[in-house]
Amino acid sequence: MKLAWSDADEEFRSSLRTFLEEHCPDEARKGKDFMANDDDRVPPWARAWQATLFDHGWMVPSYPAELGGRGATPLQTLIYLEELANQGVVRSVHFGGYAIVGPSLLEFGNNEQKAMAPAAIRGDTVWCVGMSEPDAGSDLANLSTRAVEDGDSYVVNGQKVWTSYAPYADQCFCYVRTTADPSIAKHKGISVLIVSMDTPGVEVRPIKHITGAEEFAEVFFTDAVVPKTNLVGERDGGWRITMGSLAHERGGLWVEGVAGAHRALVGLVALAQRNNLDRDPIVRRRIAAAYEQVASLRALGYKGFASFAQGSSSPEHSYMKLATSELRKELFDLGMDLLGPFGAVTEPGWAEEGGRWWQSEFIALAATIGGGTSEIQRNVVATRVLGLPRS
């Protein structure tokens, strides 16, 4: 065990820092919590920034140059994610393309589909991922959007919901039911289709969420005709693809959650000082307890990385999404508490730090729902890590 990385690995960090100093636009440094209420969800600066990252091999460093990387080692990838998170830099405003679709096409797609991956990772093509449905949220295998064979095509009917970036997307990576046979397990009849968003019969209705922003949408499919060549992987083999994501980056997925919590904590200390609450013993103790959580979870992330880098499974990381998303709610609750009656003020010009605290509090509420609810996370740890029987 040792605190510091090697000089060679720290050189990697230096070259990244130099690149960020030279190229990173101010907009990309606002940090995720603030970004959520921009009107244009995929603005021109974001497209240009993602392309710049790709062209310099800094988009997904573990990939080869032609996929926007530089063949980085797992540790270098961790350093990359760490540095971005510490500087509050966002690499892309839509994670679906580079983090889910690109890697899935590379792993499961045919040659033509694999050729679509660079544009997905560079952000030239904006992708949405059609997973959740009204009756298939945590129980994803229950999805019912139907794809029926008709000659060289599939005819798709059904509805997706909570589809992030659907209003801006060019393509949908869409999970559909190709076999509806009650005698087989639900997850065995699912396939993935690439559906162009301009296909007749595809209709997007944005959903305004509780902050007032329109980030995700419902997507309706009415007799949408999709060529059979757009099937990704095996027919009825889509369940495997749900597990696909950036395997190389799995050891560092926790970094952004911890960094976000750390930013909130720094904000809390400053807020307490500004509002003369930093001598209040209860406030001091609550903030120290929050610091304990952030610091110990950061250590847990690194401890998990040590297992990951050795190629063994890292049970530590199973806890990180659950823990950091729950912690964020506590941190922003504390922020709202520190603001007293002014916590409820949203009026521009009057709201503390431009509305940072209420907006972050609201956004934090989504973090324990999206990407697997805290309840599902606990179920997964219970059965896969602790080895408890399924309920």
Binding site: A4, A288, E292, L322, A323, R378, A382, T383, L386, L388
Partner: protein, 349 residues
């Protein structure tokens, strides 16, 4: 920060685990409650490991984690993690003195020792006030040497036999570690002695930090035992025709216990690395580690008791021995609230 264990560190952990599994069954822990001499058979197995107190905090923490899982009774912790580093600090301040010889004997495992450090408020401070008694002197009536902290800061190593009549045994929740107090007048009577050694406050802060991290490591071991016992019981206990561990209400409580154990473990070894590197983050990391470990152990004891139901509430079940240790060790060297307050002082000034 790299948590990968070296081959030597892996060996410390494996050896300790095997040692305690073999030599420290709960029957011994229970025999020690009735007669503290029952734990003396452990010492020959432990004396070679006291030297860990001279080495990196990381290695000591690895050993202590396993000792905490076995709630090892007797003077090992206080000798290796507190008395030895304190005696070394004294020896460095007074080379060639009789204290230096005592330090060597303690380091070699041929002499046991404890420290009389905490004041009447139970708080461990670098420069203790005058006219104060000393509290929470672990194993004081069982060891060979007692190091008494004095104002200055300074300290004196005293043959335990000299103080024996003056020590006041005080029962605590913890059945595995004996505890004594010493009156203010007893402490005052030592103040003018020639063997008193003045000490560097920074060095003392380092001694306290290392011991705090080592105790946090013990607590993490204790918490992990509680978690493992509770998970095992939830898999085996059947009600309503299924193991209770199949119920989400039980599963989710176990997951929250496990999360507490995992993050406390990580915090402890991060702190150990920071202490070893004399990193500027070491003071914060030490407070985080002790607060996280104390909280985890108490949480695991409380929820573990709930998961076990009635059987866990019996004297016969070992659970309460761990509950007792969890509470006592959380309190020792500062409980979570104490460390949060110290941490706040570092965050806010």
């Amino acid at each position: 920060m790299d948590f990968t264990l070296t081959v030597e560190q892996q060996m410390v952990r494996d050896t300790a685990r095997a040692l305690f599994a073999k030599e420290c069954p709960s029957s011994l822990v229970r025999a020690h409650i009735v007669d503290p001499a029952a734990a003396d058979v452990l010492w020959p197995h432990l004396q070679d490991w006291v030297a860990l107190g001279d080495g990196p905090c990381t290695d000591l923490a690895l050993f202590c984690e396993e000792a905490g899982a076995a709630i090892v009774p007797g003077p090992f912790f206080v000798t290796a993690a507190l008395a030895l580093p304190l005696l070394r600090a004294m020896a460095d301040a007074a080379p060639g003195s009789p204290t230096a010889a005592i330090a060597d004997q303690v380091g070699a495992g041929t002499r046991t020792a404890t420290v009389a450090w905490a004041g009447v408020d139970g708080i461990w401070v670098i420069d203790p006030p005058e006219d104060h008694g000393r509290t929470f002197i672990l194993e004081a009536d069982r060891v060979d040497t007692i190091v008494v902290m004095l104002p200055g800061p300074s300290a004196i190593a005293v043959d335990a036999r000299i103080l024996r009549e003056e020590l006041v045994p005080v029962a605590t929740l913890d059945t595995t570690r004996r505890c004594c107090f010493l009156s203010a007048s007893s402490v005052a009577s030592l103040a003018g002695a020639t063997a008193v050694v003045p000490l560097d406050p920074d060095r003392l802060a380092g001694v306290l930090a290392g011991a705090t991290v080592a105790l946090a490591a013990e607590l993490v071991g204790t918490a992990r035992w509680l978690l493992d016992a509770s998970v095992a019981y939830a898999k085996e206990r059947v009600q309503f025709d299924k193991p209770i561990g199949a119920f989400q209400a039980v599963q989710h409580q176990l997951v929250d216990m496990a999360l507490d154990v995992e993050r406390a473990t990580a915090a402890v070894f991060y702190a150990a690395m920071a202490v070893d590197a004399a990193d500027e983050d070491a003071p914060r990391a030490t407070h985080v580690a002790k607060a996280a470990a104390g909280t985890a152990a108490r949480h695991c004891a409380k929820v573990g008791m709930q998961i076990h139901g009635g059987i866990g509430y019996t004297w016969e079940h070992d659970l309460h021995l761990y509950l007792r240790r969890a509470h006592a060790s959380d309190d020792l060297l500062g409980d979570a609230a104490y460390h949060h307050d110290r941490l706040a002082a570092l965050l806010f000034g």
